[in-house]
Amino acid sequence: MSNELFFKSAAELGELLDKKEISAVELIQSVIDRTKKIEPRVQAFLATNEEKVIAEAKASDERRAAGKKLSPLDGIPVATKDILADKGVQLTCASKILKNYISPYTSTAIERLRDAGAIMWGRTNLDEFAMGSSVENSAFQATHNPWDLERIPGGSSGGSSAAVAAGETIIALGSDTGGSIRQPAALCGVVGLKPTYGLVSRYGLAAFASSLDQIGPFARTVKDVASTLQIIAGHDRYDSTSFKANIPNYTESIEKNKGPWKLGVPKEYFGEGLNPEVRVFIEKAIDFYKQQGCEIVEVSLPNADLAIPAYYLTATAEASSNLARYDGIRYTHRSSDATDAIDIYSKSRAEGFGDEVKRRIILGTYVLSSGYYDAYYVRAQKVRTLIRRDFEQAFQRVDALLTPTSPTAAFKIGEKATDPLSMYLSDIYTISINLAGLPGISIPCGFTNNNLPVGLQIIGKPYAEAQLLAIADFFEKAHPHYTKNPSL
């Protein structure tokens, strides 16, 4: 059993570390060995840093020995999506344009984890600049779903979800703009949380769509997600959109908050696009809550079908602006063909960006351009208001909503690569939550006949992560899917 430390939860490992049954060095070594063994097949990482993490693990062991443990995550390996800045470390965003870029500063989320003693291990793969749902848009490699290597791990934080599922890390950070934490969590059979907009500082997260992006954790259990959130949540003066409030003790609230809850089921989320096999597991999960005494209420989100257009108009507009800085002038790839400054821009960007990024920048530029701004951008923001109102109305009646995370289980690599629109439609259940700024969590709720994980999405009220985690934990306790691991 102890040779499979990498499949344990951070909570379990923390106890073993506290009881001195294992050391942090042994733990990270187990993760390193596991990674070496399976990484050629999974390809979750864009970079790892063995020497540095072993030294950090030693320091963690010394702290514990001295009774100076910094947090429950002291000594626990945490991988980060290669879109979060860490001083002296590569920050590629899985893009050729940032291939050799080293960040001269550290993101708040990573800094807080490191200050809490976590071992910051490895940079995980993603869709270029987080634009995608499969990691197929990474400029460097495809990541394979640990449950079926032929399939995508979900995206854009698919490197993080695959790494957790495969035992290549205990915890991972991702970012979620339209489902980029929840969808890969669902497809890899792990827990992934997108916090309320503003709960976790975005400082140091290379922006895709600033009004939608949030950083959040992946882990094997809800409790691990809670203890990670505990560390990264909270006001940050370097992010003007960061929320100023006291952060509750999430782990404690999981223990205390046992329901029953009033849970809503939005009828629009169970339409024709939902795969029947997935539907069965979601309905079973709903039944479980009902049997446990929760009141299940059908609710309506009438503008749900406007979420995808509103999302793509908003996200691409913001992306076209946020990605203007990657220009070949100060720190990114500069085309060797460029003869003047204009050339530097258009050639470096043509060479540095992949197709999906180009497509979204061009779409976003178009959306903001003279003559189209009001019809597309402003209108999309008005639709956002409608979508948020739908949720506000639903939340007057219920504590949280239960939905599928993704309409299907993991699809095959290459299956949707040529049709961007059909790829966009796979985000249908996750993107409204970003548009409305709400928290959402995906937890494993079953496996298809092909042994592919299915995720249940639970959507909470703004800043109600404590309750959301409690609802998720309640399900997990009765359905410990985390005990099941992919055979690699």
């Binding site: 309320t196 793509y312 002038i329 960007r349 497509r359 061009i362 923001q381 008005k382 208001t385």
Partner: protein, 98 residues
């Protein structure tokens, strides 16, 4: 509502976005983008009269700091990733004043 397929002036937009596209890319992208935009036309069907656009998830105001100086980057950090630098500055081909 006009349901005909939307047309994008790909040359103009690509130039605004400063992305050089080959002719083949122009054809491919404009087709794909026109499909997406046509799909997005859905939002023009809903009545948004009197609805305020939402540009922030939560309506906070006045997030600011006092004017107190803090530390700066070392010049080495500024030039750490520079494609070309000289005299502690970034070098670009001569730009004419615009």
């Amino acid at each position: 509502m006009d349901t005909s397929k939307h047309k994008i002036d790909i040359d103009y937009v690509a130039q605004l976005a400063r992305i050089e596209l080959s002719d083949a890319e122009k054809v491919k992208f404009s087709g794909q983008l026109e499909n997406i935009i046509t799909y997005c036309e859905k939002i023009s069907q809903v009545n948004v009269d009197g609805i305020e656009p939402m540009s922030h998830s939560f309506p906070f105001y006045n997030v600011w700091e006092e004017d107190t100086p803090e530390s700066t980057f070392a010049v080495e950090d500024v030039l750490l990733n520079a494609p070309k630098a000289d005299e502690d500055q970034i070098v670009v081909p001569r730009v004419v004043e615009e």
